[in-house]
Symmetry: C2
Subunit: 213 residues, 2 copies
DNA sequence: AAATAATGACACTGTCCCGTATCATTGTAT
DNA sequence: ATACAATGATACGGGACAGTGTCATTATTT
């Protein structure tokens, strides 16, 4: 086992003791979940210790056990919390191209790639989390794409949406999952999205696509 | 930590003691690697113990340490051994469609999906294995597809190959990585491949595509 | 044949970490 | 106010596992 060299997330300013106020208690729990992702990403699920989760969240082991039962509980709640966040990124009222760009950008982010890795790795032990992530991630994105496609391609929108989705991710995202490439920039996310649309013959109307100068 | 309920891979017929013959020694090492995949898939890399790897391979811990140094050594050599196998599945002399079908089928297999999961999960700790797997997997498949495409689409073969590749995997393969669907049948791999080709306008020539009866 | 190398079987030490207990401390309930 | 609940700090028992040591056993080398 690799020696644990680093001091982990530098200890917070040593919270005061005693029972927390009602407000505080509500936020503490979420704070633990937020910080948990970093711990799991750094060490992996199995190697992460409850002690590390506690320190990162600014609480003690006791509180972790009181709140979540055990490490699996922290992991489950963390994934569920993040999963519901994934799909909530649609300003509603954008073009197919801007939607596609946002999907590309978000799904290449370090946060979501890391989450995806963790859930894939533990999919045998936490199958319901895999389902949750897919339902709130891929499934919703594909549904959104299908809505937009319905306007432009009423005929084969349903069949085209999944194809568009995976073209948006592309081989780049597979490399990303393997850690072979860094997170994508917003700009290249845009050109990437355009390329995917073009591959399916979905580029903007010829007039809009003309040179701008 | 989850209680280890199962007895693991049922102990082999208790190999005799003493120094093995030269032939035997050569094969023993490979046998350990072959059996290691099952152990890692069942428990995950971090939870798998050297003792389990030893029992599955029909050797003792001592031999594991003598052969591979430690658990990481077993994992590395196992991945490398499997990676070189991944790409060696081209009978050479088949159509684009048959090549596509074989890629779809193989990459959906339990073995390769499991390997992929493991390498993704440990990509931070074993980055060179991720690179190896990609070089011997995706990269070669894309290159092969590009060769075939060069015949039919000399113009944009290079750009089209990655798109075709990920369309071949499709959303199905993402679900597969998450453990949400079982391995695909050879038949549905074929129809899946045909659909991907059609999406890019690469279906067979009209004559060949006509009904056969 | 004698020495050496590799292995199985087994024991053993040290470490890590889980989960709980104890006690002081601080907010909440009544 | 007074009892109670939740928390931090700390300690600790128990289990699991890594990695090594020892000895008997069997090939290989010379």
């Amino acid at each position: 086992m690799a020696a644990r060299t680093v001091q982990d997330t530098a200890a917070h300013p040593a919270r005061k003791r005693g029972r927390p106020t009602a407000d505080e208690r509500a936020s503490r729990r979420q704070h633990v979940l937020d910080e948990a992702l970093g711990v799991f990403l750094e060490h992996g699920y199995a190697n992460a210790t409850v002690e590390q989760l506690a320190r990162a969240g600014g609480v003690t082991k006791r509180t972790i056990y009181a709140y979540f039962g055990d490490k699996a509980g922290v992991f489950s709640e963390m994934v569920r919390s993040l999963a519901t966040t994934v799909s909530s990124l649609a300003p509603d009222g954008d073009t197919l191209e801007s939607l596609a760009t946002r999907i590309v950008y978000r799904l290449h982010s370090a946060e979501l790639v890391g989450l995806h890795r963790l859930v894939i790795a533990e999919s045998m032990r936490f199958p319901e989390l895999a389902q949750t992530l897919h339902d709130n991630g891929d499934a919703r994105h594909i549904a959104r794409l299908a809505e937009h496609l319905a306007d432009e391609r009423p005929a084969d929108a349903a069949g085209l949406a999944p194809s568009l989705f995976i073209l948006l991710l592309g081989e780049e995202h597979r490399k990303r999952l393997l850690g072979l490439v860094p997170a994508i920039s917003e700009e290249s996310a845009h050109t990437h999205a355009q390329a995917a649309l073009a591959t399916l013959g979905l580029e903007r109307s010829p007039l809009a696509a003309m040179p701008l100068d």
